[in-house]
Every structure is written in C-alpha cells, then in structure tokens.
C-alpha cells in the first residue's frame, strides 16, 4: 500500500517535471508578438519554432545549402537565418494607420534611390490569404518590407508602433515585421486524417510559409523584397503575381524546405510524404527561371529523385540524360539598409 502511494507520488512528480520542462522550453528563434495576436496563435507558432530545432533535413544535392548560404543545411543554421529576417508578429486586425505608423526621420537618403521593384504587385506579392465562406482570411504577410519601400519612396525613415512590443525601427527590408491571421491555422484539408492543427504536417506548412515570407525580407533595388512576378499566359496561375523570376526566390526557398524535410525525416508516413511532395511541386511550378543543377551527392542516393531512381535500376531513359545548360536567373539576396 505504502509502495503504491509512493509510486503514485513519484509518477505525479515526474509528470509535473516533464510538463514544466516542456512549458519552460523556448524557441531559439525569438519572435516578439504584438498584444493583438491571439494567444493560441502565438503559442502554436512558438511550438512550431521549438519543433524546428528537432527537424532533420537532408539536402541531397547541396542546393538548399547553396541558396540559403549556410555552412550546412540543418536546424542549427536555419534558425539564425530565420531570426535575421523575422522578428515581430502582429495580428490580422492590426491597424496600419496614423496611430501606428511612425515617421522617425525625414529627408533620408536611401541606397539605390531610384531602383524599386514593380510596386503595382508588391502588396499582393507579400500577402498570403485564403478564401473562406466568410471572406478572405490572412495567412501571413511581410509588412516590414512593404513599409521599408514606402519609406524609401517618400525619403523618410519609417517605424511602427506595436502594442506589446514597442516602437520598431524600419531601416531595411529585414525589419521582419509579419502579420499573421487565422488562415495560417485552418485545416490543411477536409480529408479525414488531415484535420489536426497540432500534427507535424501543419508545422511543416506553417514553417514553410514562414520561410517563404522571410525571403521577402531580402534583396535590394529592383530585387528588394524578392517580389513575385506575374505568371505568364498559359501558366496555371496566369495573370496573378504568384510566380518568381529568379530561381532563388520565396517559392524555391519554400520548395527546398519541403523537399529537404521529406528527404530528412525518415519516419514520415507515405501520406505525409505525398502532401509534402505536392507542396514542393506547387511551389516549384511557380519558378520561372530554369534551375541550376545541384551537385552529385557525396553518398549515392538511389531515391534522391526520379532519375536517380530510374538510373539506379539501369533503365536510363532519354529524359534523364544531361541537358545543355540554360541560363539560370538568381538574384543577389543582400538586403539594402540605411
């Protein structure tokens, strides 16, 4: 009897210790949340960022490492990459008006003062929404970059007053101010087995979106914000600002995230892998530039891609033969800064 009581106490103590440990865990990427961000949303995003630390990536051909400019494509290096581009999060009802917009300096000389991306599509270019019966719902947008360009256009240095965070200076597209909305947390699909927002597939989706939007914090002059291009006629998304001119823009960043997670997380089930595969292809289908061929993997990976798989079976179809090099467009991702 006494033993049983002791065991129960020990178990209770252990559970409390574990729960306290999980609660006390903080993400390595620190986002400052405005007071209007719903607590459920900020805690979910923080859980994703904590999870990011444990994701296993496999960058088979080194393309992700090259484009992210990191020594190795792993969680340890991706977290500082993200932190440089994402800092402050506001809610979808955040009012962008005279009460929140600050003019910190006037008569400011910006670098590349006459070079701007095509401004007509900028707003839509950095704003992700999802249509719901009740109307469009914000997924995520990179507000910091847009405000930086607004300041550059008007030769003033902008700032943003954010309740719960304070005044945020905007000296570069890397101000990293993101707006998030309910669209980031709605079910991925109505199919049974895909409705749990706590599932890791949702974390991959939200992190993919976060990395995509973070790429909008890069670039300078005409390439500032890595703004999307209007998709050409005949494209699935023809006429919409849903494509990338370069092969190193937000869609490629998102696609590489999906691919390297799918290759690296060996315990993914076939359904999860298939969802990641279609997310990757949807993102890559928007890249208008040809892609630079990655390096041959150091260790043979017969299932790295379709041609590796077929060649490994000695089938070697003609469409897998090396093609003549085509011109790859990649933009300089160095951000301009005051």
């Amino acid at each position: 009897m006494t033993n049983q009581i002791l065991q129960r106490w020990a178990l209770a103590g252990l559970s409390t210790f574990v729960a306290a440990g999980a609660w006390a865990q903080t993400p390595k990427v620190v986002l400052k949340y405005a007071s209007d961000v719903l607590p459920g949303q900020s805690s979910r995003l923080n859980e994703d960022l904590i999870y990011l630390d444990s994701i296993k990536f496999n960058d088979v051909d080194g393309e992700a490492k090259r484009l992210f400019k990191v020594p190795e494509f792993n969680a340890e290096n991706l977290q500082p990459w993200l932190q440089e581009r994402a800092r402050v999060v506001v809610g979808e009802n955040f009012q962008l008006d005279e009460s929140s917009i600050l003019v910190m300096n006037t008569g400011v000389t910006y670098p590349k003062p006459n070079e701007f991306p095509e401004l007509g599509s900028i707003r839509q270019s950095v704003n992700q929404e999802v249509e719901q019966p009740s109307g469009p719902m914000v997924i995520m947008s990179n507000m910091g970059g847009v405000l930086y360009l607004f300041g550059k256009q008007n030769q003033v240095q902008m700032g943003l007053k954010v309740d719960g965070v304070g005044d945020v200076e905007i000296k570069s597209p890397r101000a990293g101010i993101f707006r998030i909305g309910e669209g980031l947390f709605v079910p991925i699909a109505s199919v049974k087995g895909f409705k749990d927002p706590a599932a890791r597939l949702y974390s991959f989706f939200r992190l993919g979106t976060l990395f995509h939007e973070s790429r909008h914090s890069d670039g300078s002059g005409k390439t500032a914000l890595f703004a999307h291009a209007v998709c050409p006629s005949g494209h699935d998304y023809q006429g919409m600002p849903a494509c990338d001119t370069p092969a190193n823009g937000p869609y490629r960043i998102e696609a590489l995230m999906m691919k390297s997670i799918s290759q690296g997380m060996t315990d993914l089930n076939p359904a999860e892998k298939e969802v990641l595969a279609l997310f990757q292809l949807d993102a890559e289908s928007r890249v208008l530039s040809p892609l630079k061929a990655g390096e041959a993997p150091k260790t043979p990976a017969p299932d790295a891609d379709l041609c590796s798989f077929l060649n490994n079976l000695n089938l070697r179809p003609d469409f897998c033969r090396a093609q003549s090099p085509t011109e790859v467009v990649e933009w300089d991702d160095t951000p301009e800064s005051l």
Binding site: Q124, V130, D236, Y237, E274, D305, L306, C307, L315, F319
Partner: protein
C-alpha cells in the same frame, strides 16, 4: 491378370474412395462460406495443374455436388483481395473526379494564389490517402499505376498534380514492369516532365 496386379488395382480403388470421402466429409464440416472458399481454392489449384478439359469436367462435378448439397448455396462472394482493389478503384475514381481543374485555379483571388491554395492542399491530402493505401497493400500497385497514368495524362489538371502523378507512374511502372513507361510525349508537356524529375 496376375495377383500383384489385382492387389494394386484394389489399393488404387481404396485410395480413390478414401480421398473422395475425406474431400466430402471435410467440405461437410465447413460453413457455407468456408466451403465456397475451399472449393474456389481447390478448383484454382486444379486449374493450374491440369488441362482445360479436365478443369471443365471437375468444375462441372463440383457444381453438381453443390446442387446436391441440402444446405443453402452461399451468396456470391468477392474475395478480400478483390474487394480491396474494387474499393481502391472506386476511391481513386473519386479522387480523379474531385481533383481541381486548371480553371478552378484561374478563378481564385490573387491573394489566395500566393501560397499553396486550398484546392491544392485538398488534392495533396487525397493523393496522400492513395499513397497510404498503396503502401499498406502491394496488390494495389497495378491499379495505382493505372490511376497515376490516367492522372498524369489529364490535360486540365494542375501542372503540380500531373507532375506528381507522372513521377509515381514512372516509378511504379519501373517496379512492376522493369522498364520505362513510354508515355505519349505529345500528351505530357515538357514542364510537367521537368517538374516530375524534382521528386
């Protein structure tokens, strides 16, 4: 006829009668469903080892025996394997029917096309279910190949969906037929093929 020959004939007759008795008493012990399965299995075994004339004769014999059996005839039964294939084919036909079309993508508001649109996410989940079913039952690979081939040839499907289907079709074809699926290049645009190579 010599004595040893007569002995051999009697022995052979006894073996035949005994075997027959064992066959029918064994059948009689079974439930109607088990009996039908047993008969099917035995007739399949014979079909593999004997010529067509013998097979037909034996099937006729079994049918005669079944008619003579006083227990009610079992309902026509689809084997579990066939049922799984049928279920899979029904499901995948539903996936084909529900798959978003290009016109659905082009009608979306611009802001929704910035990220992966909901219709593509739904398609991803449906394709995820298909992949899951195939991974759990290798008998579904041939109908899965048919599904992926059909999906990759659908001109009004989104490029990403077609590319995923083409990738899966080429992989499955290689696995099942030890060769490369020689698809009609005029039916699959270069961008679908290029994209399919990224997985």
């Amino acid at each position: 006829m010599t004595k040893p020959q007569i002995r051999m004939m009697i022995l052979a007759a006894l073996i035949l009668i005994g075997g027959g008795l064992f066959y029918f008493t064994d059948l009689a012990r079974m439930s109607p469903m088990e009996r039908a399965e047993e008969k099917e299995a035995r007739s399949q075994l014979r079909a593999e080892t004997k010529d067509e004339g013998e097979q037909l004769k034996e099937i006729a014999d079994i049918e005669k025996q079944t008619k003579a059996d006083p227990t009610p005839a079992p309902e026509p039964k689809v084997s579990a394997a066939d049922a799984a294939i049928l279920e899979f084919k029904t499901y995948t036909q539903g996936v084909i029917n529900e798959m978003p079309r290009l016109e659905d993508l082009r009608e979306l508001p611009a802001s929704e096309t910035h990220g992966t649109p909901k219709v593509i996410r739904e398609a991803a989940a449906q394709l995820g279910v298909v992949a899951d079913m195939v991974s759990k039952n290798s008998a579904l690979k041939p109908p899965a190949l048919e599904f992926y081939q059909k999906c990759s040839l659908q001109g009004d499907f989104p490029t990403s969906v077609r590319a995923l289907c083409l990738n899966r079709a080429l992989r499955l074809y290689a696995e099942l037929h030890k060769g490369v699926w020689e698809f009609d290049r005029t039916q699959i645009p270069a961008q679908v093929l290029e994209l399919s190579k990224r997985l």
